[in-house]
Amino acid sequence: MNLDLQFTPITLSDRCEALRGEVRDFLDEQRREGVIPETLRKVGMEYSADFSRRLGARGWLGWRWPKAYGGSEGTALERYVITEELLAAGAPVRAHWVSDRQSGPVLLTFGTEDQRQKYLPGVAAGECFFCIGLSEPNSGSDLVSLQTRAEKIDGGYRITGTKLWTSNAHRAHYMLALFRTSKATADDRRAGLSQFIVDLDTPGIKVRPVVNLAGEHDFNEVHFDGVEIPDDCLVGEAGMGWRQVSAELAYERSGPERWLSTFHVLARLVETLGTDVSDETRREIGELFVELLTLRRMSLSVAGTLEAGQPPTVQAAVVKELGTRFEQRIPRVAHKLLCDCPDFEDQDSIARELLEHAILWSPAFTIRGGTTEILRGIIARGLGLR
């Protein structure tokens, strides 16, 4: 089989497990201080700049980056352990999540020395937050067709166009964006795209909220009406944005957040149901746990691939395809089992609130970060089908 499709088994080192203990102790402390709620009523990651700063102070952001840029020079597997523990605890990690996961690594790989020095220490300290400016009204799955233009002007670029579904644009400092700097060529429609860092305080940028299905303001529409940004905002090589973004997307899809979004619902379900349950219920829960453990093994080997310095494109797509459908199924199963559970309506209002929030959010899992259909296309290409 194609080498790219291997899921190499990974055993976590003692160092990793020791780190896990440290993260857990820290999280317990945060819980005692009320920074992380004792009982979770929502799925997904809450936004807390304060908590991100605390993580930064512990050195757990920018974990793999050189110390010179505020990093800890740790391994991908150690980073895996940190993220897994944070997610399992329901910690409010949203503010820094994408900066630490993808924007930082892109700058580290493709940025200039000045850019690294300017942005990475802030990201690693949990003080500088990015959002991702890829999707547009007419370009989602077909990202390459994006139309927002960055025209070369004297000393910089002029940006005109609209980004859509930009999570956290209303509270991030910067957008790592993909714009068109020149026309696609006849033989390569991927040519002519470039990545930029956009300071969201730049005049001319309008961030309009888009209320989501759960009634929350989480993503946005971002208008650029002739916004001028300086030359040193260009990341990497002009026109080579597509290659850089492909690497970024592999990071975006690689982590345990792609199968842990509704883990709390499962945990709460087990707690609420108690020990006195039918065989059928046991089987349903058992099946979910089998999948959880399988996904965890697969996700670990994605981290192993990252550690080996290879792009985990296809493996990450496999894990996200499986993982998001898994996290989407949990609330459905929980709903069914809890409906059959006598007195559920009166007793456990927290479980009900959490379940309702999970039901509302679950359609997003198989859309954000690349739809299930697009991931299947990537997996098929990984198999050699064109």
Binding site: S141, V211, L213, F219, K336, D340, P363, I367, T371
Partner: protein
């Protein structure tokens, strides 16, 4: 068995569809969800004028003397338009009063129901109320449709006194707020309001003259299950239409997304599921009117399948819409949220599959 609509039924259907298109526009439904519209009374009146509220009321009481199939035709249109009216509970109540009420009780309620002057709620099917050792009525239900605004509440009570497991009385409560605790709550479904928990606090109301035997109880269960299923079918039909239309309009990679086989197959699977549901639903509604002994099984089957298919289609509609499907800007989310409630209101999904399981065991 006759599985196509008669000419009359087709006419009724055209009437229902054009009425709903006129009097229950999506802009109104959305505004209603935000608390900014009160078109519901007008819609209720229009339905009454067209004879739908009295579908199961005899002509002698001002009704149109039709059947559950015709009521189902209205329900399909109402479900498709996400109408916020308590049509199903009111229809089921009219049927019970017509069957069990004394002449006086019939005159007191039926013409008002048919004329759209009152609406009703019903509890106790499933889960009949019971009497405690002091003879006081006890029972608790949630969520109850129309709990907040019903003028009339019917309570199905298990008659343990007769020693017959299959005997029920039906009590009418007019002064709902004084006789029970009604706790209304918001649900995720913003297309309907006034769901609530109803707890009997001992008040009995007035029993309908006749009592309900096992067959009558089964008929009531079938009306509620099949009625809810046909409403869900209406929603699913709209959702498939919405998904198909978007798949033909939305262009990615230089083609409408409907040109990709992944989307084509999703839509084809949806159509297959929907047609299966449609057959089950109309068979159940037909059986209620024409083959009562088949109705409970047919209705439970229809509802069990509706619970799955409607959820599947509403969810996949969001998937096909991509990012915009996850917003409140288009109507896809309204259908998903409504389905979640539809699955619970007339008994949790489990009761229908449990019924089918019990039936299979009997057959074995």
């Amino acid at each position: 068995m006759q599985f196509s609509f008669t000419e009359d039924q087709q006419m009724i259907r055209d009437t229902a569809e054009s009425l709903v298109a006129r009097s229950c526009q999506m802009t109104e439904v959305r505004a209603f969800g935000d608390g900014q519209s009160d078109f519901v009374d007008a819609l209720w009146q229009d339905l009454a004028k067209a004879g739908f509220n009295g579908a199961l009321v005899a002509e002698s009481h001002g009704g149109s003397g039709l059947g559950m199939l015709e009521a189902g035709i209205a329900l399909e249109a109402l479900g498709g338009a996400l109408a916020p009216v308590p049509f199903l509970s009111t229809t089921a109540v009219a049927d019970l009063i017509g069957r069990l009420g004394s002449d006086e009780q019939k005159s007191r309620y039926l013409s008002k129901i048919a004329a759209g002057q009152i609406s009703a709620a019903i509890v106790g099917c499933p889960d009949p109320a019971h009497r405690d050792e002091n003879g006081a009525l006890r029972g608790q239900w949630a969520p109850v449709a129309n709990a907040e605004s019903a003028d009339l509440l019917l309570v199905v009570v298990a008659d343990t006194a007769t020693g017959d497991a299959d005997s029920y009385s039906v009590n009418v409560i007019e002064d709902i707020k004084d006789s029970c605790t009604v706790e209304t709550f918001d649900t995720m479904d913003r297309t309907r309001r006034g769901f609530g928990a109803i707890t009997l606090t001992g008040a009995a109301g007035v029993p309908l003259a006749g009592s309900l035997d096992g067959d009558g109880y089964a008929r009531l269960g079938a009306i509620l299950a099949a009625g809810s299923a046909v409403e869900m079918l209406g929603g699913a039909v709209q959702v498939l239409e919405m998904a198909k239309t978007y798949a033909m309009e939305r262009v990615q990679f230089g083609r409408p997304i409907g040109a990709f086989q992944a989307i084509k197959h999703m839509l084809a699977d949806q159509l297959v599921a929907l047609e299966g549901l449609r057959s089950l639903v109309w068979a159940a509604l037909w059986a209620i009117d024409n083959a009562p002994e088949e109705a409970p099984l047919a209705a439970a089957t229809a509802k069990a399948v509706a619970d799955q298919v409607a959820l599947q289609l509403a969810g996949e509609n969001i998937q096909i819409h991509g990012g915009i499907g996850f917003t409140a800007d288009i109507d896809a989310h309204l259908y998903v949220k409504r389905v979640q409630l539809d699955r619970l209101v007339w008994g949790p999904p489990g009761i229908h599959t449990d019924f089918l399981e019990a039936h299979l065991e009997e057959m074995a």
